[in-house]
């Protein structure tokens, strides 16, 4: 069995708006990255930068359905990883945002990125929610 992680959260905004806050690098830089070099569209190749960590990572976007789904691959800890994000309508105009990522071997070594990426993506979703609902940057002073 390979390990894949799944985290999710409700954001009290419609799917189109939540999707835009992820796909548009100017918005994403308000709560997650320092900068992104391009919008997340199908087949796009871009880079996410974290100035405080002196880190820049290439992101290869696969399929994108505007307002619904973004798939990409990257190597957050030196190992190629796939990520699937979905944006589903929920009750009262909210959006269920889900991130599934993987995979890693089901052993001591695989457990490290499994839990790191669980934390990393849940933190990202919390920051996304705080940005869209309260207009604040929770990453300032950083976490993780």
């Amino acid at each position: 069995m390979d390990l894949e992680t799944k985290v999710w959260l409700l954001v009290q905004k419609p799917p189109e708006q939540v999707f835009e806050a992820v796909a548009n690098p100017r918005q994403m830089s308000r709560y997650f990255i320092s900068a992104g070099s391009a919008t997340m569209t199908t087949g796009a190749q871009l880079a996410w930068t974290w100035a405080d960590k002196n880190l820049s990572l290439p992101v290869r976007v696969g399929a994108v359905e505007p307002g619904r789904r973004i798939e990409f691959t990257w190597a957050p800890a030196g190992r190629e990883t796939w990520v699937r994000m979905t944006f589903e309508p929920a009750a009262q105009g909210a959006t269920q945002v889900t991130v599934i990522a993987g995979d890693w071997p089901s052993d001591e070594a695989g457990m490290v990125p499994y839990f790191e990426q669980t934390q990393g993506w849940m933190h990202m979703l919390c920051c996304l929610k705080a940005y869209l609902e309260y207009g604040i940057d929770l990453r300032a002073g950083k976490a993780a």
Binding site: M1, L3, T5, K6, V7, W8, L9, L10, V11, Q12, A90, A91, A94, Q96, S106, D107, E108, M111, Y114, F115, T118, Q119, M122, H123, C126, C127, K129, A130, E133, Y134, I136, L138, A140, G141, K142, A143, A144
Partner: protein
């Protein structure tokens, strides 16, 4: 295989304010639980209710050093107990590093899955703690629903 995880968050507030926001139920219910039968005091067992989880959770405090460390035992494994250790480290400029680790998982597929769910949960809790003490907001409000928790985690009201 030892199944364990640790999450951490840096909070731009002094240790005493952060520690109190965890042990004091009037504050903890502002971003994490719905209610507690009492404060977290060494040797005590309190019952936590959550805003959306259809369960009541007994929590026993097995170690407590004010403003430094808190160890809890609860039924993180659903049918068995796990241990949650929270540490609070003072950093420069009146900041605090909070670390939360949970151990005691069965070393198998089931343990890995439950631990992953709680890793997600403690990440949400520690980020919400930060949002609460820094901005005075409740990030748990509208973050989960009973319906989705039942769908995603297979929990049922008891």
């Amino acid at each position: 295989m030892d199944v364990r995880f640790q999450v951490q968050t840096e909070i731009l507030r002094p240790v005493a304010a952060v520690f109190d926001a965890v042990v004091n139920p009037a504050k903890l219910s502002g971003y994490f639980i719905k209610s507690s039968t009492g404060p977290l005091v060494l040797g005590s067992t309190v019952i936590w209710k959550f805003p959306e989880f259809p369960v009541e959770t007994p929590v026993t405090v097995t170690a407590l050093e004010p403003n430094r460390r808190l160890v809890l035992t609860w039924s993180g494994g659903q049918t068995y107990d796990t241990q949650v250790e929270m540490t609070f480290e003072p950093l420069a400029a009146a900041r605090t590093l909070v670390k939360i680790a949970e151990t005691g998982w069965t070393p198998d597929e089931g343990g890995l899955k439950l631990a992953q769910g709680n890793c997600m949960g403690w990440t949400h809790m520690s980020t919400s703690l930060k949002a609460y003490v820094e901005f005075g907001i409740n990030l748990r409000a509208g973050a989960f629903s009973t319906e989705l928790i039942e769908k995603e985690m297979g929990l049922r009201a008891t």
